[in-house]
């Protein structure tokens, strides 16, 4: 059950064909066009806004903007990449609005590459790893634990993990959405993955299948 915004979703029509037909007047096809990306848009907005109600409102506004600006999509990037870029700009605009309201806490919109300490970029050292299978995610608290770890990353590292590892964008698409070089994406991703590995290794161990002992007993 992996999440990818590059999958086509329902129907056989490609985004290019759907867009052409929507622009020719078949408005209802907009529903089919956005289904494969609606999850990624919500995730992007939640990562920025940290609030379900605001994220849902911002997602609706994002898709209305996308509909109204569909004629501006030139096909130079994938439709999904264009959508996620618009969602990110919408989320950043909400953050700026929020920071102009004194009653709401100001969140950092962008931070610097140097924010994390150097020790965060080395892995947790261990001598044995028992794989945690995907089925372990049936336990809700494991998903929550992973989600919390991503949310706690400094924003520049959270962005790359979200786009590359959760949304399955490639390096070039991630660079395009964030407006940074592919080299920066790779460096940030490398650091972010080690930060997550370090944080999660002690927590994940209990979700690994138990080892079999000499007489087949679980140890």
């Amino acid at each position: 059950m992996t999440s990818t915004i590059n999958s086509q979703g329902g129907g056989d029509l490609t985004p290019a064909v759907l867009i052409e037909r929507i622009l020719a007047g078949e408005n209802h096809l907009f529903h089919d066009l956005i289904r494969p990306v609606e999850r990624a848009v919500f995730v992007m907005l939640f990562m920025l806004l940290r609030n379900e109600v605001d994220s849902e409102d911002a997602a609706q506004e994002t898709f209305i903007k996308i509909y109204r600006n569909l004629h501006n999509f030139r096909g130079e990037s994938k439709f999904s990449t264009w959508v996620v870029s618009i969602a990110r700009n919408e989320g950043l605009a909400w953050l700026r609005k929020r920071s102009s309201r004194p009653e709401e806490p100001i969140q950092p919109i962008l931070d610097q590459d140097g924010e994390a300490s150097t020790s965060d970029f080395t892995p947790a050292l261990l001598t044995d790893w028992r794989e945690v299978p995907l089925e372990a995610l049936e336990r809700k608290e494991l998903g929550q634990c992973l989600c919390r770890a991503v949310l706690n990353l400094p924003p520049i590292y959270r962005d790359v993990v979200q786009l590359r590892d959760m949304d399955d964008l490639d390096i070039a698409e991630t660079a395009l959405v964030l407006g940074i070089t592919q080299g920066s994406v790779k460096v940030r991703l490398h650091r972010a993955r080690f930060m997550l590995q370090k944080e999660l290794v002690p927590l994940l161990e209990k979700y690994a299948p138990a080892k079999r002992g000499f007489f087949g007993r679980r140890v």
Partner: protein, 80 residues
């Protein structure tokens, strides 16, 4: 050429993404065969990356999609 642990760590993320050249991949593989620490670091990092890709990590609020399409219906109909 023999590579050390630090050198392997520097390339773990790229290795997982299949973004290292043939020669470096072979050197890393040789190192992993005898270094249990780097093997465990590689396996645990890859495990985290695989788990993160699963939809169950991030739950979307119930009814999000229905509410979104309902709102869009109003916008689309206004354009008809």
């Amino acid at each position: 050429m023999k590579i050390d642990c630090k050198h392997v760590w520097d390339h773990i993320s790229a290795y997982i993404d299949g973004d290292v050249d043939h020669q470096l991949r072979a050197e890393i593989d040789r190192h992993l065969e005898h270094c249990e620490i780097c093997s465990a670091v590689m396996d645990s990092t890859r495990n985290v990356v695989v788990l993160m890709a699963d939809e169950r990590v991030f739950e979307i609020p119930a009814g999000y999609s229905e509410r979104l399409h309902h709102r869009l219906d109003a916008v689309l109909q206004a354009r008809d």
